[in-house]
């Protein structure tokens, strides 16, 4: 009786180990699969207003609370959509690699820092269709390159 119980326990332990071993690559693959890819094309420091007033305040017409702190703001171009994202503090940075991985998470954009397993979350300030954004950029370029009068 005791031997049968020990044997069953060993089988369960082995099965658990196999399950853990097999499920790990699947979860990593799943994690990789949820990421979209994009390129940061612009970066500037702007007031951290958006973060502090929040969405409700933004649509409710509450007075804007400007802070002296400046937060990094990035223009992130993906396949179809262009995002303007803002950090929550002055030192929340995105590495400016050619391609970065990101995903949506609770109305925010979670950016994967290089190949590391940790993410950093940014507020989304604007979202534009890439085709529209490119048209606007082209127009700005034409304005800038036009000879001044």
């Amino acid at each position: 009786m005791k031997t049968a119980f020990a044997s069953r326990k060993r089988v369960i332990r082995t099965l658990l180990l196999v399950l853990v071993f097999c499920s790990r690559p699947v979860s990593v693959t799943a994690q990789n699969g949820i990421y979209q890819h994009g390129t940061v094309v612009r970066m500037r420091m702007s007031e951290c207003i958006l973060i502090h007033r929040g969405f409700i305040a933004a649509i409710g017409g509450m007075p804007v609370q400007a802070t002296e702190e400046l937060c990094p703001e990035y223009t992130l171009v993906s396949d179809k959509v262009v995002f303007v994202i803002v950090g929550k503090s002055s030192n929340q940075m995105v590495p400016l690699a050619e391609i970065i991985d990101f995903r949506f998470h609770n109305n925010e954009l979670a950016v994967r820092i290089d190949d590391a397993r940790h993410e950093t979350k940014f507020s989304i300030k604007e979202m534009t269709l890439r085709s529209q954004w490119e048209q606007v950029q082209k127009h700005i370029e034409e304005q800038l390159s036009a000879p001044s009068r």
């Binding site: 612009r42 970066m43 940075m93 400016l96 820092i113 370029e141 800038l144 390159s145």
Partner: protein, 305 residues
């Protein structure tokens, strides 16, 4: 900021109409000459999370943010060819630094007397108080006469900090030599009280002179003032570093030398021809612990300054 190969046409072509006009010939056709300087050149060095110089950097390790645009496509990337220093110690001798004045003067004397790698004719000392900066010694600071002049200084009067920086920019411009990096080490509490030059104009002059400023804060850390912030901004704007007086002149000079030896130059095509000040930052592409030190911008009119 101009590459050598772009220097002569950038200067010569705009001058050409003037030269022709001086010639006074009325039958010359009315021709407009214009030139476009299209290359930006930035010198920089890198420090790690412990504020130590990083010796080896690759062009894949960073991106330049020029007027908000991210630039990753560089024309060239190499070690800086500036291997010698032209060192100017700029010493605040106004009344506001009186409490730490003796300590500051010991540091300045130590800085001046240190031998290698700064040659005798490459170190100068300026002082400022009242309404004018003064040249204590220019390229001959290791003699007894210069030492006597330094020891005779005492703290008194107002603080013309920004006037002195503008003066320092002009002083350095007159000493410019190929392969030599101009560096100002500013000993001050950062509290200007009397300058006619604005902070912005002083910084613009220094940035245009291509000099780095290393600031040494003489204020009491237990009594923080706005001056410390001013000193940080000055050093960061030029691509230099900020120190406190307790860190000692030897460490400051050591940092200057290490930074010089670990300096790189990157060039890239001007991202847009918008006239005025172009802000600059260099940011890491992978390792967020790295800090890239470079001047915070350049002026573009029809050429880069």
């Amino acid at each position: 900021m101009l590459s050598p190969q772009h220097n002569w046409p950038a200067l010569a072509i705009p001058l050409l109409p003037c030269i022709l006009a001086i010639g006074g010939s009325n039958d010359l056709p009315s021709t407009t000459y214009s030139s476009t300087v299209s290359e930006v050149r930035i010198s920089f060095f890198v420090t790690d999370e412990h504020n130590r110089s990083v010796e080896t950097v690759n062009k894949e390790d960073f991106a330049v943010v020029d007027n908000e645009r991210v630039v990753r496509n560089f024309r060239s990337f190499s070690r800086s060819d500036e291997t010698a220093l032209d060192l100017v110690a700029v010493v605040d001798v106004s009344e506001s630094v009186a409490p730490g004045f003796q300590s500051a003067m010991q540091d300045v004397l130590q800085l001046v007397s240190q031998g290698q790698p700064v040659s005798d004719d490459s170190i100068s000392v300026l002082s400022f108080r009242g309404i004018h900066p003064a040249v204590i010694c220019s390229g001959n600071c290791r003699g007894s006469a210069a030492e006597s002049r330094l020891l005779a200084l005492h703290a008194a009067g107002t603080t013309p900090l920004f006037d002195t920086l503008a003066f320092g920019a002009d002083f350095i411009a007159h000493r410019r030599a190929a392969g030599v990096k101009p560096v100002l080490i500013l000993f001050s509490d950062g509290n200007d009280t009397v300058s006619r030059t604005s902070a912005g104009d002083a910084l613009e002059a220094i940035i245009a002179s291509n000099a780095l400023i290393y600031t040494v804060d003489l204020s009491n850390p237990e009594n923080p003032s706005d001056g410390s912030g001013v000193l940080r901004q000055i050093s960061e704007a030029t691509g230099g570093r900020y120190f406190r007086i307790r860190e000692g002149a030897a460490n400051v000079l050591q940092a200057v030398i290490e930074d010089l030896h670990a300096s790189y130059v990157v060039t890239y095509q001007l991202p847009n021809h918008r006239r005025g000040f172009h802000s600059l930052r260099i940011l890491p592409t992978h390792n967020l612990q790295l800090r890239f030190h470079c001047r915070n911008g350049y002026s573009y009119e029809n050429s880069i300054r």
